[in-house]
Symmetry: C2
DNA sequence: ATTACTGTACCGTCTGGACGGCAATGTCAA
DNA sequence: TTGACATTGCCGTCCAGACGGTACAGTAAT
């Protein structure tokens, strides 16, 4: 079985969702197994049946976020097959749609980081691959990297809950990023 | 007394330094008072004498990081009084020198966030003021904001320990940010 | 006498995780 | 068809350890 979130008796999915929501509400440092289990409508024993340790749960959460991001990106990229700057443009678009849909930040990452920084290793690997793809596909590597970093900035700031931009500013910036992605 | 880090019997400074280092080494979720006191070469009683609660300690740590950043920025800005784009340019330069000096990330922020997200309120306020200054002073607000976000991206990624750029890439990007800051 | 601690002992709380149990479902032989 | 057994998925309790914080007696320097 892959990292399938949607097993039939969808306890694993509910647990992961509960953990992510909790992280957002009580802060990434106060995500206890008890609280997660309670919010998921599952006993603690049940939680530990699905995820034999907290570490395993956090690994699953990281994988969940990564999968979601990767799928979103794939969807956006395969529409414009291989054209120059298609990867970085897809990144910008994905951020836009995530914003529009009011998609919450990937608070599970922080919870994992708090517990054990090593849990973010898959994130590093994923990001590195993404940067490579962006560079290979970019008409102007420099601009593309700047756009990538600005997006990471936007994402991280809202992840850390210190995003201070107004809607207007965000709109301006995303527009600019779009331009930079399209024409180097 | 202000938030003076350098009181004569420099216990407060040592404690804060110890906490920041610990956060980097054992992860932001495992910074206990005991561990901080031990590393600072101070008894736990002594720590609690200086900071009557963990929350107070974390507030001091946040203020410490903020002060350091603000001072660095002031130093860079006052050299080029009021010229257009001087603020955002100073941000880029500050990042550069911080990098060159191998300055570690502000790991105290994460520890504070873990404990209580509200502790980052001063960070939000500081950032908001900074964004305002950047905008007022920019020849092209849009470009300036993108540069700001890219820098935040760089800082946050290394803060979260998921920075994946090579030295070469970082060099390229910073150069580009410099250009963008200077000429819109 | 005040300041700035040290050192020890202690308390209440929370947490991860181990464990035994248990109902429902599936499997398979008679 | 039925009864016996195995597996799955989960419940609820218990526990040892760690943590934040308190209390307090002592001390060395100013």
């Amino acid at each position: 079985m892959t990292t399938a979130i949607l097993g039939r008796p969808n306890s694993r999915g509910k647990i992961i969702a509960a953990a992510v929501e909790l992280a957002k509400e009580v802060g990434p440092g106060h995500v206890s197994l008890d609280a997660v289990a309670h919010r998921a409508g599952v006993s603690k024993g049940g939680l530990l049946y699905n995820f034999p340790s907290k570490k395993k749960l956090l690994e699953a959460i990281v994988a969940y976020h990564l999968d979601k991001f990767e799928n979103g990106l794939l969807e956006k990229t395969e529409m414009k097959q291989g054209k120059p700057d298609s990867v970085i443009a897809a990144c910008v678009e994905l951020y836009e749609t995530d914003c529009r849909e009011g998609l919450p930040p990937a608070s599970g990452f922080l919870t994992a980081l708090v517990e054990n920084p090593d849990l973010l290793l898959p994130v590093r690997q994923f990001s590195r691959r993404l940067v490579d793809k962006i560079r290979c596909n970019a008409s102007d590597e420099c601009s593309a990297l700047v756009v990538f970093l600005a997006l990471e900035g936007l994402r991280c700031l809202s992840l850390l809950d210190i995003d201070v931009l107004t809607e207007e500013e965000r709109y301006l910036v995303v527009g600019k990023l779009h331009d930079m992605a399209r024409q180097g």
